[in-house]
Symmetry: none
Subunit: 209 residues, 4 copies
DNA sequence: GATGAATGAGGGTTCATTCAT
DNA sequence: AATGAATGAACCCTCATTCAT
């Protein structure tokens, strides 16, 4: 069942979406102004509410749209990476980088929506986050092969160490891409090598045996 | 040179500060209302502006105050921890936990100020963050003893791996403290042991030799 | 000459009418929303205006429809009640009760239209009220037989005393029916007896001779 | 404890009150516009809310003010009318007429507030109505002397007959005063005589013995 | 120093109505 | 006949800030 908005010509939809996402990313949910949105999109105040009903529903629509956008492009393929946890995480980390590089605006919007959740929409967003997580990150830890792990360490903590390091790396690359976005995916191979060095450090340890 | 505000009786200063910090923490910078602050502090609207000039200046004053508060209590002492990088980081991580446990409201306020920087105050806050960082975290990596590190790994990356893991751990504990604040520092010893297990994993590595 | 609306299939007409009347009764004329009406009736916004031209015209159409509805069922038969003024008024009062019980929604709508007249429609409604009154209530006082009245009292005032008492009673019963609508007409005989007691009091007077 | 508004110069208070009451009487609670009020009172939009907080609170303030106005002038004196129920009711009925004649605008405002209670304020208004009623009308039926009543009629119904007739009369006079307000209290004596004729009719009855 | 009355732009949202399709 | 996108004024209310007292 198409919503009112989705029945619009594609280019108009796109223009309105970009304007609204930009406004949300620039000012945050509460501080974003529907007035500015309509001005910049060149439509009347009333029309935005004709389409979406309320600021909150507009936000949720955009979350769904952007989630779908990334899902189709990056997440739809099942996570069938062979190999151990390091391989899987590399695969997943690079996917996130690709998503960011592909559309930094959209990616920032999702981060805003999922990490700085506006209070009013907490419930609705938590649910969406859950769903999207399960389709991606969540599968990472299923059926994990830890046969090569040392036996004298806490295995759960070992896994968490890997995850924390990779989270930190992800944040670092994201920051870098945000500040020098034009280099985009061109560094991808370079980054992959860097990740591998970090993984090797985790594998063999830092101290001499 | 004392500001107008600092010439007030200490208890009145304190009351006003607590009310304002609470309001900022509860609503964020933009959503915080100076009207509510004056109402709750029991002073007139005009007076707040008489003291601080503007909402932004009030915020910066509070950032400086809270920074000073923590600096005096936790950061002033030089970082003379003996031992290698792991020891230093443990020392630093526990300090952050202590700061949170000592005054969760102030800690949250600083996190708000430094991590979700309000656009208008971006510059002023970045500068303050820089200064505070250098006095604490920054010293961590000075004159680092890496003599026990393996030679076949990238040393800078090894250090960063440690830092990233410890950042992740810090976030985890902070979350825990926020949700179960009454346990407070009582778990400190427990946490120290947990940190050491993580460090051991980093030291010896995850895979069997 | 059939209006556009009246050329519609009967069931569609009915659905639209019920929805609109309900909306007017629930919210009053000004607060009633044509948007909600079209949503609930399952027709487009434009169509309502295609049929009725404006909110005001829609309201007047409904007034006419409901007036006609009651007129056909309850008022068309000439008021040929034999007997004196008391008999006639009893007859008329019971009619009003029947009208309410027959269709409380319609009855409330007419009360809204005629007693809380929306400012914009004041003139048009006053005229309609006049017409409907004359066909019902108005006939009540034509060719009145007052031969049994005392001679030492003002006859016009005596008649008005009866009318005012009966109006008061009517309001009381209406309130009762609204609050306990399911009992509906079942109390009709009981009410008739009550009315007769009031009339007897008026006939013989309150004080001892 | 004076409210913000009550600390204003008396003439400014009066101007604002009259403007707001007029607006409420002209358009009803929901349809009344705070924008129009501030325009006509010559104050800024924000100021009205600075004084009263919300449209609803403004309305309740006005209800209290007008209630107090009438209470001081007409209701404060205890209802010590000697004589029977007819005397009491005459006394009370004339009071209401005086109240209307004294300030028709205020009187209409109270009728609006108490009889067409805005839904949002239902509770607060019901409570105020209760209190005002008890101080006036409510006392009417206390310690009633019905010793001169006939014994063959239902006494409760007899009392109610009187009340209903007088209500009807009250409404009639009110209507008349509204349409010819300039005559005001000048007809008071005339009206008193008319009331007495109605009461005599009720006392002796309409039919010949 | 201290007050709080005063401002007016801007917030999200609803509304009856129009008109190209 | 029927649609629903489109309008823009108006709604109540909040805001940080100013300034005469």
């Amino acid at each position: 069942m198409r919503t009112r908005f989705e029945s619009l010509p594609e280019d108009k939809q796109t223009r309105i979406r970009e304007v609204c996402i930009q406004e949300f990313v620039n000012h945050g949910y509460e501080q974003a102004s529907t007035n500015r949105m309509t001005e910049r999109a060149g439509i009347s105040k009333g029309l935005l509410f004709h389409y979406f009903g309320s600021k909150g529903d507009l936000f949720l629509y955009l979350v769904d749209y952007v989630s779908g956008y990334f899902y189709d492009r990056f997440l739809a393929a099942p996570l069938e990476t062979p190999g151990d946890i390091f391989d899987r995480i590399t695969f997943w980390g690079l996917k996130k980088l690709q998503m960011f590089a592909d559309n930094p605006l959209y990616y920032q919007f999702l981060m805003l929506a999922f990490l700085d959740r506006p209070k009013d929409l907490e419930g609705a967003l938590a649910q969406r986050y859950q769903m999207l997580s399960e389709r991606g990150y969540g599968l990472l830890l299923k059926d994990l092969d830890t046969s090569r792990f040392r036996e004298d360490i806490d295995q759960a903590k070992a896994v968490e160490t890997i995850l924390m390091t990779m989270d930190g790396l992800g944040k670092k690359y994201m920051e870098l891409l945000r500040n020098v976005p034009d280099r985009g995916l061109s560094r991808m191979e370079e980054i992959r090598q860097e990740i591998e060095e970090y993984q090797r450090i985790l594998q063999v340890g830092i101290y001499r045996p």
